[in-house]
């Protein structure tokens, strides 16, 4: 008996159980007469089953609260969109760090939950800032990743990685020039580090990162960490730390200059 020609499309539909019933018998018959085709079909079925086994694992994960909340009818269509946006701004960019940690396959996955749950305190931020400053300011040849002669590129890159507009304050009025900047791994969010230097080759660094939701504004606070002075503050959900081996009064003066320039840049930015 003659077998009807079986198309590639027929085979896929057959494997997926989507072939019209009238044509199933024809494929069955072809399979009976063609061991190579039968083997291919068996392999496709095995692949389907493996894909289901693999991707069904996602279905077992607990649903995050904010997604459950998004399934509730919004008071108005606009507010849920606004809520999504607020959430996005409040908890956005922990994953840049995870990305830098990916070694081999997706180590990021392993650290993701731990990263997202921990909340950095301002004190730990000051300590981290001091460590990062000590590490990079001491490096004569490579204190930064991008030098100040490419300031625009630097700021664009940091802005992109941190997820909000980063500004590099101009500290020439207090005798410091921008050296450049780099990205630093923080507790949970990527931190931008901007390095400055004066004529005496003393270095300062301004570090900026997004704070987790719930951390309000703070006044300037001063910490002395590892022989370094650090002024730190939180403003508009961003944490700032100015570190350097200069005396407290001078550091405070510079912190005021930084704060004033950032406030001015913020006021000028389109909302």
């Amino acid at each position: 008996m003659k077998t009807m020609p079986i198309s590639d499309a027929d085979i896929h539909a057959y494997v997926d159980g989507r072939l019209p019933a009238a044509r199933v018998a024809g494929v069955d018959e072809a399979l009976a007469n063609d061991p190579a085709l039968a083997a291919r079909v068996a392999e496709m079925r095995t692949q389907n089953a493996a894909l289901r086994d693999a991707f069904d694992l996602v279905l077992d994960e607990p649903i995050p609260e904010h997604l459950l909340a998004a399934a509730v009818p919004p008071p108005s269509g606009r507010s849920i969109a606004a809520r999504a946006l607020r959430y996005r701004r409040a908890l956005p960019f922990a994953f840049g760090i995870a990305a830098t940690l990916v070694v081999g396959f997706s180590l990021g996955w392993l650290v993701r939950d731990a990263l997202i749950e921990r909340t950095g305190t301002p004190t730990s931020f000051a300590r981290q800032a001091a460590f990062a400053h000590a590490l990079y300011a001491a490096d004569a040849n490579r204190p930064v990743e991008i030098w100040a002669n490419e300031e625009k590129r630097l700021v664009g890159w940091l802005t992109k990685r941190l997820g909000f507009q980063v500004h590099a304050p101009d500290l020439t009025s207090v005798g410091f020039l921008l050296v450049g900047g780099r990205l630093v791994a923080g507790n949970e969010k990527p931190t931008a580090l901007l390095m400055y230097e004066n004529a005496a080759k003393e270095r300062l660094s301004l570090q900026v990162r997004k704070q987790t939701s719930g951390s309000g504004e703070t006044a300037f606070r001063y910490a002395h960490e590892n022989g370094l002075g650090v002024f730190y503050w939180i403003d508009d959900s961003c944490g700032y730390a100015l570190s350097g081996n200069v005396d407290r009064a001078q550091l405070l003066k510079i912190a005021h200059v930084v704060y004033g320039q950032l406030a001015a840049a913020d006021a000028a930015a389109p909302k």
Partner: protein
């Protein structure tokens, strides 16, 4: 990235206030669809945090468009359609935004991550399969998920992706062949150490 409600088509203001006349979406079905939306989003974006953002945008968009949903029709397929469109629009936006900042990796093409944590997987061949999935094009991954994992009809898939059924079939065919070859001969760097 900063996004403003004015420039984002998915945050557009709903002009009609919701009232008693507004047909609602069946909330239990919506909640039940979330795990599948998350799965589709991970296959689309290849990255978990962006995937959940996409799910949230999709749900928000679903509420905005709730009048378009015909009661009794397949809510999952309807949401998949919205998700696909939201994602394609976001990609276009990301590409525009990143056009003048080129130092970082293209945000539209983040590195593929495993859709689940590695320690959730107890079979080496599944781990390998998931890794190799990331080497398929997004078009192929998407069709393979919808056909082989979600087991949707080809016509439904064509509707979700706004492409002809013939294109669904050719993508599916290529996806299967590519995946089979990748799994048979994994790249050296991706070989799983047992």
């Amino acid at each position: 990235m900063h996004r403003s409600a004015g420039s984002d088509p998915h945050l557009s203001i709903v002009t009609t206030p919701p009232g008693s006349d507004a047909p609602g979406l069946p909330q239990p079905d919506l909640v039940a669809a979330i795990p599948r939306l998350r799965r589709y989003a991970r296959v689309l974006t290849g990255e978990a945090s962006r995937a959940d953002d996409l799910v949230q945008d999709t749900l928000a968009r679903g509420w905005e468009k709730r009048r378009m949903w015909r009661s009794g029709s397949d809510l999952r397929a309807w949401l998949f359609t919205i998700m696909h469109n939201v994602y394609v629009n976001q990609l276009a936006m990301l590409k525009r935004e990143s056009a003048n900042v080129s130092i970082d990796a293209d945000p539209a093409n983040p590195a593929w991550q495993l859709p689940v944590r590695a320690n959730q997987i107890d079979r080496v061949e599944l781990l390998e399969l998931m890794q190799q999935m990331g080497r398929l094009s997004r078009d192929q991954r998407e069709v393979l998920l919808l056909a082989a994992v979600e087991e949707l009809r080809y016509e439904e898939i064509a509707g979700i992706l706004s492409i002809p059924v013939g294109t669904v079939m050719s993508r599916l065919s290529r996806a299967r062949n590519n995946l089979r070859q990748l799994v048979a001969e994994p790249a050296p760097g991706l070989r799983v150490v047992k």
